[in-house]
């Protein structure tokens, strides 16, 4: 494929950079979360959960691969290069995903908050005017419904178990809850994407839908959604300013690739 791009352009001329920003946000969220959650392989609370968590983490990497693949088609690049060969500061995952996996309660709380926010985001994209984007969104949505049920089952059980489980859940929600809206924070190119129908639903509407879905679940188990951190809703900060947990994760997940970036696998 030459730099001229495919015969049927993925998006009309002039919108490539805007679409790339959206695709990178989607891909990097799934990629970073998938890697962070995969750290439970071998040490999850019991054997079945270990297998399940590892499989769920792999699913996120599959979703990331689909988004990176479309981005590579758009820019004439290579999905692996996009995923692995950037400096950590260029990774555009949200603040929610930037936290380290922490203990099991934090992993499951973050996972559930992410899955609920991502579900709202993906549902909105299913009617995107960018057909290849909509096609991936529809497929991801089918699998995410199941992920969400798994995370919610855990959050409810941790809450209802009381004692140490409940304390850890409370701590987790206090730590990662304020950053949860960062998944849905407006992108810099939101106005252009909305005007073209690529992003059918704006971030304000998505945030309302997400809150309406999450609050009743938390309410039933005696919890509330903490107020959003200002940075989580700021387009300039929601996906930048990564912390030390992420720097360590990124160093590890790119370590093999950096040994020999041109190696054939």
């Amino acid at each position: 494929m030459t730099a001229a791009g495919p015969a049927h352009p993925i998006v009309e001329a002039g919108l490539e950079r805007s679409l790339a920003e959206l695709l990178l946000a989607l891909a990097d969220d799934d990629f970073v979360l998938g890697f962070a959650d995969s750290e439970w392989t071998g040490i999850a609370p019991h054997l079945e959960e270990d297998v399940a968590m590892s499989s769920l983490a792999q699913d996120e990497l599959a979703h990331a691969a689909a988004w990176y693949g479309l981005l590579a088609q758009l820019t004439g690049g290579d999905a692996d290069r996009v995923a692995y060969d950037r400096p950590s500061t260029a990774v555009r995952h949200s603040r929610l995903v930037d936290h380290g996996r922490g203990d099991w309660a934090r992993t499951m709380t973050r996972r559930w908050l992410y899955d609920t926010a991502n579900a709202v985001r993906i549902e909105g994209l299913a009617s995107s005017t960018c057909r290849p984007l909509a096609d991936i969104a529809v497929k991801v949505r089918r699998e995410e419904a199941y992920h969400l049920a798994h995370g919610q089952a855990w959050v409810e059980r941790l809450a209802q178990a009381g004692g140490e489980s409940r304390r850890r859940l409370d701590d987790a929600l206090a730590l990662v809850g304020p950053d949860a809206p960062s998944v849905l924070a407006p992108l810099e190119s939101e106005a252009a994407l909305q005007a073209a129908g690529i992003l059918p639903t704006g971030s304000a509407e998505l945030l309302e839908r997400w809150t309406a879905r999450v609050e009743p679940v938390l309410g039933r188990i005696g919890l509330g959604l903490p107020p959003a951190a200002p940075a989580a809703l700021d387009p300039a900060m929601a996906r930048s300013g990564h912390g030390p947990d992420f720097e360590a994760l990124w160093a590890e997940l790119t370590s093999v690739r950096r040994l020999d970036p041109e190696a054939a696998w």
Partner: protein, 137 residues
Amino acid sequence: MLPRPPADDPTLGTAPAPSGVRLEPFEVFRQEREGEPMRHGGSVVAPDPTLALHYARELYARRGESLRLWVVRRGDIVEVDDQDLLNPPFDRSYKKPGGYVMRDKLADARARTGASKRAASTGRRRATGAPDAGQPG
């Protein structure tokens, strides 16, 4: 026959987990292709049916190898393993089909219907799983 350890067998995870939650075994049955019978795939331990379903999916279907799963709490299975019921001590050979030769009757039946030996036997096998697959041609 399902292996059926005592309900409190600690090797199967029925002992309290560190948090005090009891895990219990669930048996998983899977169907590989439409029309095939459900076959026992194995078991999972889980604290409740909801998580058992998630674990069954991940252990027995994550590679796309199952069309359908049945997840059954082991304690809900009615088991019969009384040998007085299943293998009573008297001679049972009169209930077995030995000595009853079917070959000639089958050949006559095939001649009447025009079915080949191969088609007839394939149809018989399929008929156990799919009611409408027994009539070749």
